[in-house]
Amino acid sequence: MPTQTKAHPWMALSAPGVIDDMLAAIGVSEIADLFEQIPQDHFRKTPIKMPPALTSEMELRRDLVTRLKRNGDCESNLSFLGAGVWQHHVPAVVDEIVGRTEFATNVWGSYQSDHGRNQAWFEFSSQLGALLNLDVVQLPVYSWGCAIGHAVRMATRMTGRTKVLMPRLSDPERLSVIRTYCQPTEMDGSIDVVMVAADPKTGRLDLADLASKLGDDVAAIYFENPAYLGTIETEAAQIAKLARAAGAETIVGVDPVSLGVMMAPGDYGADIVTGPVQPLGVHMQCGGGAGGFIASRDEERYVRTYNGFLVSIADTARDGEFGFGLACPHQNSYGMREDGNDWTGNSTYLWAIAGAVYMSLLGPDGFAELGRLIVSRARYAARMIDALPNVSVQWPDRHFKEFVVNFDATGRSVYDINDALRAQGIFGGKDISGEESNLGQCALYCVTEIHTAADIRRLTDTLKEILA
């Protein structure tokens, strides 16, 4: 037994003498006797090399805080980064609730002992369903990209077809995840990912190209609304109609905070809807706030193809009382191993609780106000930036919270400009100049409710200086 001079605060049995009592109860004289199953030549030969222990909370805290303080963050800087994780206001009540130890530490009890958590999960699905106008919402998977990947695989299971159409102007980060879920072609069940062109004038899907690629081998068309580069897909209903005529599923990706002002995807023909949960009250956390939802109509053929946890309300043994549990629990990998739908496991369920609290705080009027505020400030920012000499906004005026800024005419690279902005405490938009969209020296700017008019003027004044 290693020398331990003091009992460790995280281990009750490290107090002096307790282990000896337990060994006596077991009937062995040494701890080593308990490892008798492991052959001697399996034990490690090299000692563990680790920095010295920080067993006192104060030393540990100091190490963590000292290190974290070397980060620059989006509170002490003015950030315009988005593209998959976005800076939104997180209500304090959300932080309190997700920090509750019962929610932070629970695992899996009975439906009764988990009642409160399961109800919060159901309320996440119920409120998101109200925003989407859809009846089935699964608990979130790891991320939006993973949600799209699973949704595409659902569509292939439903249709027996193995091709999916995606917009050429897709987020490369999400697309990389989707390709992982679909390919490579040598593998059983490989799904062909075919890109649909964008209309260069609008950034929206080229419907003629879409129509030419839709056939009886297409399982699904996927598009986003708002799209990766911020544009709004005004022909969404037409896209869904084309897909339906070809027997393909329409999978849509939406930003849930847009749904106070943008039409619910359930109302324009979406069959399966995906999106990020992070905007619903989850901090960015270096991307650790990611999570992705999947939703659909309440038809058995959809419900039976989900991969994860579907929480249903149910009656209980007591009259007039309700409880919650998992619907269709045997179709996932816990129930059926390799024969289940894809796989599931620990996911991002705490963010379902964050989302439930967030949506209940906002209500219908909050979402409408938030949506109007975001679009207004984003558009204001786009106009102010567009008015700068040699700087232009691609596809102005029709976006939600993100838009593309083109710096080609400045003769400067986005990389340089962002370096100069950072020196002034501003994080410029994501550099997309190296991406397959091939739009030139462009950055994707994100403006949300947290950006005031003064913040936006600070950005444009600084850009003006830098580019002068």
Binding site: Q37, N106, Y111, Y142, M187, A327, R337, I353
Partner: protein
């Protein structure tokens, strides 16, 4: 026997949030755009074809009502506020100092696309933790992109794809070999990645035979995925030979270290010959489980496989930490960004708080505690350990069965789990599928719980076994002291009754009424 607590869970009769509030109620208000903004952009904000016309049916409540409602729900969640000896999940204390540190804006309000110059603090933590895991496993590189243990298994599957594709053999190496006792995520992720799964059955000694493995592996085998010890607490002493046999056939060997707690500090996956392994930071390394994530499956591998891992990889160049995206042979991403970073920070904090000696001591303790439990559980009539012929001491968890009690009284493992909560004790884990042992339960004490906690837990099991004989109906209809009575499970497979949202529920209730039922 300890005195059992007279427990009663909070019962708030809390309505579904959709039923709360009043028209016009507000819990959060946003300011109007500034005049200069409003004048500049006007009212035509969204194209009319995409404008929302209906009002979403959401609750309209005050900030306090939202807070109170969700506090009530948290109070109606036992969490691990009782005693949770939940096997396979390794329940630990989740230090509040880590929780508070990760809530600081220097982590919570950090964007993954920030310039690396502004990320040096968090990257230093990820880098140093990578090196701690390297030391614990002998591997050469860890990445943290996988959002859970299953996702790390999936990472292994796609790394194997890239490895075989690089050798032009992906159309030949199509099979993954595992044990029927492996966690379901291993076969499921391999299948989702396109591999054919070969499951090896268990022999009487508790693990698949070496001969079965030899018969299963061939030049079609891409990889094997195996845990050790398994969920029965049985260690496969032939594991080195397994790795040798699999490698002789050219296959990659993946060590699912879900059950690391009993062997941490004792074994090194690399020394045993494995090419890759994974650790669950939300289990073994003290980050919270949060009811199912955010979690991290830390994936570690040899230098040879490191060229195929998902990007970015945190590396160090001189004194500077960088996010390396330049791996042309990378298998692709399993999730956006670089992982559930706060959980990595919490796991780093756990490892630093424990130190090498603490980690070693924790594995000692978890094996002592489990064998103590085995000893006491074996004295309770009506319950039986799996593989009773194996007399060797088990590792950090054991698989037990209520089959004898069920035969005698009709009370099975689900009934006991439901009843446990009435004593304020968290229901146990039963078993992953398939249930090789009838009426299973799988306790695991880990290093957190005191002897008094463990004794109480066992006393509750003994008490319920007793109740099964004296008042089986009471146990069968349990729980009696919980927020709700037994939930009606028939609903969950009935398309006419299941309701995953409030709107679906209202629709189905209305339709049932219209049909007169």
């Amino acid at each position: 026997m300890s005195r059992l607590p007279e427990f009663h869970a909070a019962k708030w009769d809390e309505p579904v949030v959709m039923e709360l509030g009043r028209p016009g109620g507000r819990g959060q208000i946003f300011p109007a755009p500034e005049d200069e903004v409003a004048q500049d952009v006007g009212d035509d904000l969204i194209p009319s074809s995409m404008m929302r016309k209906d009002r979403p049916v959401l609750p309209e409540i005050t900030e306090f009502e939202a807070q109170r409602h969700y506090l009530h729900l948290s109070q109606m969640t036992l969490g691990m506020m009782g005693v949770s000896l939940f096997g396979t999940c390794t329940m630990k204390y989740n230090s509040k100092t880590s929780e508070y540190a990760t809530l600081r804006p220097e982590l919570a309000e950090v964007h993954p696309y920030q310039h690396p110059d502004t990320l040096q603090g968090v990257l230093s933590i990820i880098h140093d933790f990578d090196h701690i895991l390297r030391s614990l496993s002998g591997m050469d590189q860890f990445i943290f992109q996988a959002g859970g243990g299953a996702d790390a298994a999936y990472t292994m599957a796609i790394v194997a794809r890239a490895y075989w594709a690089d050798r032009g053999l992906l159309d030949q190496r199509t099979e993954m070999v595992t044990s029927i006792q492996a966690h379901p995520c291993n076969p499921a992720t391999a299948a989702a990645a396109g591999f054919k799964v070969v499951n090896l059955p268990l022999e009487e000694n508790g693990y698949p035979s070496l001969d079965a493995l030899k018969a299963a592996v061939s030049d079609k085998t891409a990889l094997i995925m195996i845990n050790n010890p398994d969920d029965m607490g049985i260690y496969n002493p032939e594991i080195k030979e397994w790795v040798r046999v699999a490698k002789e056939a050219g296959a990659l060997c993946f060590y699912d270290h879900a059950n690391f707690n009993g062997v941490m500090g004792k074994l090194s996956a690399r020394e045993l010959g494995f090419d890759a392994c994974m650790f669950m930071l939300h289990k073994t390394f003290g980050a919270p489980k949060a009811g199912g994530g955010p979690a991290v499956g830390a994936f570690g591998c040899s230098d040879e496989l490191a060229q195929y891992v998902p990007c970015p990889v945190v590396t160090k160049a001189g004194a500077r930490y960088i996010l390396d995206e330049d791996r042309p042979k990378s298998a692709g991403k399993v999730r956006e960004f670089w992982g559930n970073v706060p959980q990595v920070v919490k796991a780093y904090a756990w490892a630093r708080g424990m130190g090498a000696d603490g980690i070693n001591l924790a594995s000692d303790i978890s094996v002592v505690a489990n064998n103590y439990m085995d000893k006491r559980l074996s004295e309770i009539p009506g319950i039986a350990i799996s593989n009773p012929d194996i007399t060797a001491n088990r590792m950090e968890m054991s698989r037990w069965s209520f089959a004898p009690l069920c035969e005698e009284t009709g009370i099975g493992t689900v009934d006991v789990a439901n009843r446990m909560a009435d004593y304020g004790i968290d229901p146990f884990w039963m078993s992953h599928e398939p249930w090789i042992v009838a009426e299973p339960f799988t306790p695991e004490a880990g290093e957190l719980w005191s002897k008094e906690d463990i004794d109480l837990w066992i006393d509750v099991i003994a008490k319920i076994a007793d109740e099964a004989r004296t008042d089986p109906e009471m146990v069968k209809s349990a729980p009696h002291n919980q927020p709700v009575a037994q939930v009606n499970g028939d609903v969950f497979e009935d398309p006419g009754k299941w309701a995953m949202t409030w709107r679906a529920y209202l629709r189905k209730v209305a339709s049932a009424k219209a049909n007169g039922s």
